[in-house]
Symmetry: C3
Subunit: 307 residues, 3 copies
Amino acid sequence: MRPINKLSTKSLIDSSKLTLDDINSIFCLAQYYKSNSHQKFDFHKNKVASLLFFEPSTRTKSSFELAAKKLGITTLSLDTSNSSIKKGESFIDTVETYIELETDCFIIRHQLSGACDFISKNTSSIFINAGDGKHDHPTQGLLDAFTLKEIFPDLSKVNITIIGDISQSRVARTNLNILSILGANISILAPSTLYPMHVDFKNINVYKSINEAVENSNVIMCLRLQNERMDSNALPSTSEFYKYYGLKESHLIQYPDLLFMHPGPTNYGVELDIKLKNHKNSLIRKQVNNGLYIRMAVLDLLLSNLS
Amino acid sequence: MRPINKLSTKSLIDSSKLTLDDINSIFCLAQYYKSNSHQKFDFHKNKVASLLFFEPSTRTKSSFELAAKKLGITTLSLDTSNSSIKKGESFIDTVETYIELETDCFIIRHQLSGACDFISKNTSSIFINAGDGKHDHPTQGLLDAFTLKEIFPDLSKVNITIIGDISQSRVARTNLNILSILGANISILAPSTLYPMHVDFKNINVYKSINEAVENSNVIMCLRLQNERMDSNALPSTSEFYKYYGLKESHLIQYPDLLFMHPGPTNYGVELDIKLKNHKNSLIRKQVNNGLYIRMAVLDLLLSNLS
Amino acid sequence: MRPINKLSTKSLIDSSKLTLDDINSIFCLAQYYKSNSHQKFDFHKNKVASLLFFEPSTRTKSSFELAAKKLGITTLSLDTSNSSIKKGESFIDTVETYIELETDCFIIRHQLSGACDFISKNTSSIFINAGDGKHDHPTQGLLDAFTLKEIFPDLSKVNITIIGDISQSRVARTNLNILSILGANISILAPSTLYPMHVDFKNINVYKSINEAVENSNVIMCLRLQNERMDSNALPSTSEFYKYYGLKESHLIQYPDLLFMHPGPTNYGVELDIKLKNHKNSLIRKQVNNGLYIRMAVLDLLLSNLS
C-alpha cells in the first residue's frame, strides 16, 4: 500500500504555504515511487491533467507528463504554437476551455508571476504551478530538497549555498522557502545587480566570493543565468560572470567532498565548468530523476485529496 | 447499455446531410456520456484516430482528442510545424500516409472548403470534418443545438438570432442547417458586406438592427469576427462593428431572460461586451463542455457503424 | 505466440551491423504484426519510449509513435519548437534528461551523421536511429526490403535500381547495406554531381541513363531530391533532373511489370511523374504500411532483449 496522507492544500501554487507535514508526505510517497521505478499504475485512470506551458520547457513538462501517464491519468497538452492563442485567445479563456473539458488537474507554466494563483480562484480544479515568472516553482524546490535529503538525512547539519541570480529566480525563491522549512543552513552569493533586496536575511548568510562559498559549503546550488539578464545590462558579460561566480574544476580539486546542483538547462562555461559535466559530485541527473517521483507523489496526493 | 443507433452516413462531413434521426441518435448518446462524465471507457481500444489540424485550434482539437481518449481510442496528432508539410508534402499525400498507419477515423481541419469531402473519396476510413474553410463544422452545430435543446426541449418555440459574418462563417452555415432540421425559428443580423447572398431566405428572418434582434429573440448566437474581414476592408473597424452589432450589458439589463452563445475564441469588446464574461445568461462554457460529449457520441456512433 | 528471437545488437543504429539472422527475425515478427493488424497489445506496458526528432518528419515519427502505442509502450515526444532547445540546451543534455525520465528506448532523428551512435555510448538505454544526417536510417531500409520480399521471396533473382542523390542520401546508403546482405542485384543511376565517390562498387552496377535502368530492372527505387541540392548548385534545375532521371508514365507503358518505390515525401514532377500517383505498380503506400509493422517488430525485439 502506498503512503497517502492528506495535504493541507488543495493546489500546489506557492511553496511558502507548504507545511513540514506536507513536505514529509510528499517525500514519503516519492520514495515509494522511486522504489517502484519503471512501473505503471492506474490509480487515477478516470482523471484528466492538462499541461498548459506558455514558456518553453523540456524537463519540467516531460517530467509531469510522464508522471501523469505512469499514474494512469489522461493528459492533454496545449500546443501554444498551433492553438487559439494564435488567434488572440486570452490565458483565462484558454484555462476555462480546459476546465469544461473535464480537467481535474492543471499543470501551468506562465511568464507572469502570480498567473497560476490568479487563475485558480473560483474553480474546483487542482492547480500545480510549474513555474510562474519570478515567483515560484514548487516541484523544483521539492525535488532539490528530496535529492539533498537522500544524501543528508538531517539537513540542519548541511551548509548549502545558492549562487547566481537570486533576485529574480523562481528556483532560488522556492529553495529558500523549502530549505528553510526543512531547517537547512542556507547561504547566498550573487552579483550586486542580482542581489535580492526583498528577502528577509534573518537566517541566511551572504558570501562575498565564490572562494568563501566553496570553502564553507557542503553543497553549491547553481542557478541558470537567463539571457535576459544580459540584455538588461545587469551583468557585463557571461565570461565575467563565470570568472567571479562560476563553479570550476579547481574548486572540486580543492574540496573533493563538495557536491553541486543545477536546475537545468545548464550553461556550461557560465555557471559551471564544462569539465564538471558528469563529475561524480554532480547531483544534476539525480535531480531530474527525482523530479519524476516528486511529481508522481504531488499528482497522486492532490488527486487523492480530490476524490 | 449505451444507446447506439445506426447513422445514415459513414462519415460526418456536411451538416446538411444529417437526418433528424441522425441528430437525435447523436444527442441521445451525448446525453449518456454527459450523465457519465469523468469516466473512461474502452469501447474502441483497437481503433486509431488521427487528428490533422492544418489551422490553429484549442477547443475543437483538445475536445476531439479527449473524446477519443475517453473512448479508449489511440490518437495520432499531426504537428504541422514539424512535419513533412515543412518539406512541401501535399495534403493528400499526408492523409494517405495516415491511412496506411491504420487510421480508422480522421478528424480534419483545413482552410479550404471541401477539403474533407475531397479527401474522403475512395477510402474506407471514416472522416469527421472539424472545420473546412467557409463550408461546414458539423460538431460545432451539433453542440450548439444540443446546448439549446437542454434549455428548450421544443426548438420550434424558440427564436434564435445569429449575428455577425454570416456570409463566410462555417459556424453560421452549419447552425442554419442543423437548427432548420430541428425546426427552430432562425433570424440573422449582419453588416451588408458580410451578408449571405447565397442563402435561401425562405425560412429565415432578417433583422436590421441589434435592438430589433434582442427584442425578438430568446437566444443570440454571436460569431467570431475574423481578422481577415478587417484586412479585406469588409468592415470599417472593430469598434464600429461593436457599436452596431456587439451584444452589450445594456441589452441584458433590458431583456433579463435573453441567453447568448459564442463558438469561441471570443473577442471581447468586438462581438461581446467584456462585462458579459461569466454572465449567468452566457451559454459559452456549457457549449465547450457539451462539445466533449457530442464528439464522444459522434466518434462512438461512426466507429460502431464501422465494425 | 509471437516469434521473438534474440538480435545480435542492443540498439539499431547502423544498418551495416545487422546480420542476416537479425533481418530475418525482424521480418518474421513484422509479418506476425501485419497478420494481426488493427490490434493493440500490452507486451511492454511498463516501458517508456522517447521520440526525439530534431528534423521534421511525418511518416517516420507517426509510424514509430503508433508502433510504440500499439505495443502498450508509454511515449514521450520532444517538441523542439517549445522545449529547452530554445534556451540553448545541447543535444547531449537533452538526451540525458530523458534518460533520467526512465526512457527505456530512444528513437532519434538528427541532422548530424553519427549523432545517434555518439549519444548511445555509456548508457543502458536502447537507441533506434530514425535518420542521422547522410548516414543511415535502418528501419527505412528494413521496410523497403520487407516490401520487396513480399513480392519477390528470393531477392537474388531481382534487379533493383536506386535513382537519384546516391552520394548524400541516408536512404540509399541504408538500402545498399540491407539489400546487399539479402543478396539482391543492385544498380544505381545518379547525376555526376550526386555520384557516390565513397561506395565500394564491387557488387553494384552503374547505369548511364534512365532508359537503360528501366529496361534492366524489376524495381526502381526513387529517392527524394532534397532542396538543399538545388541550393548548392549540384543540379541545374528540378525540371532538368526530371527530364533525365525522373520515372515517367511512358516507362511504365513500355515495361508494364516494372515496380517502383519512394521513401516519401514524394516530389511529383521531379522524381516521379504525377500520372504515376496511385499507379497499380506503385509500392509507395505499401512501404508506409509495412513501416508500421517493421517498427513494431524492432521495438518489440529490442525491448524483449532488454528485460
